[in-house]
Amino acid sequence: MDSGERKLMQLNKIPKTVFLLSIALFALLITGCYPDHNQSTFDPRGPVAAEQLEVFWWILIGGFIVFVLVEAALIYAIFKFRVKNESDIPVQTHGNHTLEIIWTAIPAVLLIILMVPTIQTLFYMYEAPKTTKPEHTLEAIGHQWWFEFRYPDPSNPEKEIVTANEVYIPVGYPVAINLESVDVIHSFWVPKLAGKTDMVPSEGNFMWFEADEPGEYYGQCAEYCGTSHANMKFKVVAVPENEFNAWLLAQSNPAMESSDPLVKEGAGVFKSAGCTGCHATKTIVNKGSKGRVGPNLAHVASRRDLAAGMMRNANENGSLNDALLQENLRIWIEDPEQVKPGNLMSKGAQVYTDPDKKLTEEQISQLVHYLSSLK
């Protein structure tokens, strides 16, 4: 028996310490997970995210055990075999075939075991359940730096209903999403509902998810897409099916007209200042038609966020707050570059590029009133 093997025997004395220490370490590690945070991956609220998290627990726990065992062996060796006498020359072992075969085989077997749930979940993610209803098949289109959404029009199969940055889905139904992009590659990600899928220009893509309970779920673009990549967010609002249908009906019609003179003047400015060149205020478009350059504003005042998740128009409880909305609209219209660097509007709209056409304080007020009436 060489000294190495003798030392191996002494390992028996320390498993208990290692075990206790690793439990403590794992507990410490887990405190780094925050299920209550908005984009935590540890708080799945739908079956896709739940399945994904389940395979992660496999590798997290398995990986942790491997980590502890190997680090323990390393640290043990470091302490045990430190030099005692400079002139000592240890036994010059060149290897041990049995040991090497064992430590090749064990990881290989562990990894093959891990492949099974991984690949099962992979196939689960890629095909929406057969029960998915055709009216629950949406389209999400990435733009620099906001999200366009399109729903099939229930009353006319040739038409689509367009909205932006806030996507409603019915609770308890699988929702299929076709992904597209008009410019660069974006990625559609709602951590609590499903992992991300890229929105690849001209290639298209597909994903599905389902929300188990009503709520507002945070989403964010996850593929670097240019200057304001950080400023490209959206929300998924899951509501009961009847509410969803009512919302969709409301979306398919233009906002109610207001008799407020300020609003009427604002509508005039909206046209004369050239806003309509990029922003639509009607929601019904032909199926597959090319979208406008800017987000659809038909119901902009009904959304809880402005400028793709940049500014919050709602109270803590999620109810809309008109005062906040007006304030946010004003900030946005006054200097969009400040809110979202590099955006097309501040680069391209005449009211920002041509000092002569700059919006007056009065025009801004009128626009704010008009836009905040678009419920």
Partner: protein, 618 residues
């Protein structure tokens, strides 16, 4: 023999700065590579520090969105192409000929050319900060790199400088492959090669095979940008996913290009300071070769969210998980090496042990990415920077630091301060974990990477603040390293030839080695031949001090030359000429550069030997 009309006499024993500029001595070129790459490492570190300061809290405004995007792009490109790769190249240059018992590399002037070309490419990339650097990410995903998206010259500098760096890398790789195959001392069979030389050999082969892929991709991108081609233009039928395939077919082997030399360094250091041979030498060599081979089968794991389909993702899941097996073998063999040894905790040994501890963590989080179903949650979040920094910082940089201290006596001829070295180790060890570990947390907490800011209320403030704090620990650690190296290089205690009681041939000659390395080419009889010689009692004389190479030994060395640098300068001018192709005369500057380059190559080919006694075989 005809000679080239421009007959400039070959420089003979130039001294001072000219000595360095015209040098073709592999040791000096190694040192040039090392110093340049270390400066680049610092520049990449400054870029990283600025990013960390920007992210220290929510909605900070230290740098603008546009500058931040340039910072992360330049940080990635710098660290990979200008820091880690050339730092490895520095060791290739300095160490390989010494380890195989050679007097120089196979093509000494080509070696000088590699360095000067690398320097040109590096300067070109870093100077692009002046007009606005590229901001499309180090991965340069189409169509962010298109003229429509990115009209500035930043991308052009990025493309062309990467091409120039590719020339440097390819030339160096061919040089090392030929050197290792042809220049080994008698008896130095392939299976007696020191592990570092073995891993460098595999790395050089990987480089020769991988770089052409990125070269083609960059040429396609150049044509898209300059001549309105449509490789990546979807409007005219191009494909943006094509770029990703090309990039990662290069990019994944590139990861092993970065880590295999590091594994080689660690495999040298551990046996020396544990006083035991590497455990399972053949297995470790084979595992390295298998990693290099399998490295070609895993590229699409960078693309799990691109929508390649469940079948493709499943295949790449399997291959990616399997590549962990040979990597695991290496880790176990390293632990096997120190097991039962007599470990001396010198600074290089600490860094190598730190490497194992940190690389293991990066390896395990790598397997977590391979769990492709959950990778949909991890991809493009901070979980990925956490992983790559445990692999490339905890792995590659720790091993490089180990090598910097391990070979310090050899290349400087001095001893560094052990105490200061150990303090710097612990600071860097602590600093990297404080900086990079929290990135796992914020990543799984849904923080995407490459965002220049984040709002309050997402819960990312605390760990981002911690990570930024860690950077300053790292900075102190590196300042200590720089001070230790810089001060002791000048004023350190003279180093003996073999301060570590080491095992390989470079320690059998004086520190620093004489220009000709080996007075007499050694005859190798076993693995770890120098150790065996010492143990066997066959007393071998260590030369007391180095000479200048020709004093009475009758050793003929290739003489210094201007032409490699002239050629590299030509290439550098041509590269600038491509970016500024419409200045004065269209493509005029590029043409001038090419002419200078051709003159350089031509004169190089006909360079007079200047020494009538010397045969002209070199």
């Amino acid at each position: 023999m005809s000679t080239f009309p421009i007959s400039i006499p070959r420089p003979v024993h130039p001294t001072g700065v000219w000595g360095w500029i015209t040098t073709i001595d592999h040791k000096r070129i190694g040192i040039l590579y090392g110093i340049t790459a270390f400066i680049m490492f610092i520049s990449g570190g400054i870029e990283a520090t600025l990013m960390r300061i920007q992210l220290a809290g929510p909605e900070l405004d230290i740098v603008s969105a546009a500058v931040y995007n340039q910072l992360f792009t330049m940080h990635g490109t710098t660290m990979i192409f200008l820091a880690i790769m050339p730092l490895s190249a520095a060791f290739f240059n300095f160490v390989i000929p010494l380890q195989i018992g050679a007097r120089d590399v196979a093509f000494p002037r080509l070696n000088a050319f590699s360095y000067w070309t690398f320097l040109g490419g590096a300067l070109m990339l870093k100077l692009s900060w002046i007009g606005g650097a590229t901001d499309a990410g180090w991965f340069g995903y189409a169509p962010l790199t298109s003229v429509a998206q990115n009209p500035g010259t930043g991308i052009d500098f990025w493309i062309i400088s990467l091409q120039v760096l590719g020339v440097a890398s390819l030339a160096a790789s061919f040089n090392f492959i030929v050197t290792i195959i042809n220049m080994r001392a008698p008896g130095m069979t392939m299976m007696r090669l020191p592990l570092f030389t073995w891993m460098s050999f595999i790395t050089a082969i990987l480089l020769v095979l991988a770089f052409p892929v990125i070269t083609v991709a960059l040429i396609e991108l150049t044509f898209d940008r300059y001549f309105m081609f449509n490789f990546f233009n979807v409007a005219n039928g191009g494909s943006v996913v094509l770029w990703q395939h090309l990039f990662w077919v290069f990019g994944h082997p590139e990861v092993y290009i970065l880590i295999l030399p590091a594994m080689g360094i660690v495999s040298e250091v551990l046996p020396v300071f544990a006083k035991k041979p590497l455990f399972g030498y053949k297995t470790v060599v084979l595992a390295g070769a298998i990693i290099a081979f399998m490295g070609w089968m895993v590229w699409s794991h960078h693309m799990f969210t691109v929508g390649l389909g469940a079948v493709a993702n499943a295949v790449f899941t399997v291959t990616t998980m399997l590549i962990a097996v040979p990597t695991g073998i290496k880790v176990f063999n390293w632990i096997g090496t120190i097991w039962g040894g007599s470990i001396r905790f010198t600074t290089p040994m600490l860094y190598s042990l730190g490497f194992i501890a940190m690389f293991l963590l990066g390896g395990i989080s790598g397997v977590m990415h391979a769990v492709s179903a959950h990778d949909a949650q991890q991809q493009d979040t901070y979980f990925v920077p956490a992983h790559i920094h445990y692999v490339l910082f905890g792995g590659a940089i720790m091993a490089i630091l180990s090598g910097i201290f391990y070979w310090f006596p050899k290349y400087s001829g001095k001893m560094y301060s052990e105490k200061q070295g150990k303090i710097s180790f612990w600071l860097i060890m602590l600093g990297q974990n404080v900086t990079f570990f929290p990135m796992h947390f914020v990543g799984l907490d849904g923080m995407p990477r490459r965002i220049y800011t984040y709002v309050e209320g997402m819960g990312w403030e605390f760990w981002n603040g911690v990570a930024t704090g860690g950077v300053f620990i790292l900075i102190i650690g590196f300042l200590l390293v720089i001070d230790n190296i810089g001060r002791n290089w000048r004023n350190g205690k003279p180093a003996p030839a073999d301060p570590w009681d080491a095992r390989t041939l470079e320690w059998s000659i004086a520190s620093p080695p004489p220009e000709y390395n080996f007075e007499e080419i050694p005859v190798v009889r076993s693995l770890d031949d120098w150790w065996a010689t010492k143990q066997g009692g066959a007393h071998k004389e260590i030369p007391a001090s180095g000479g200048s190479g020709d004093e009475g030994h009758g050793i003929h060395l290739p003489q210094p030359s201007y032409w490699p640098m002239v050629t590299a300068i030509g290439l550098f001018i041509a590269a600038y000429g491509v970016v500024f192709n419409d200045l004065i005369v269209p493509w005029g500057i590029a043409a001038i550069g090419l002419v200078i380059g051709f003159v350089g190559v031509y004169a190089w080919s006909f360079e007079p030997v200047n020494d009538p006694e010397e045969d002209s075989t070199h």
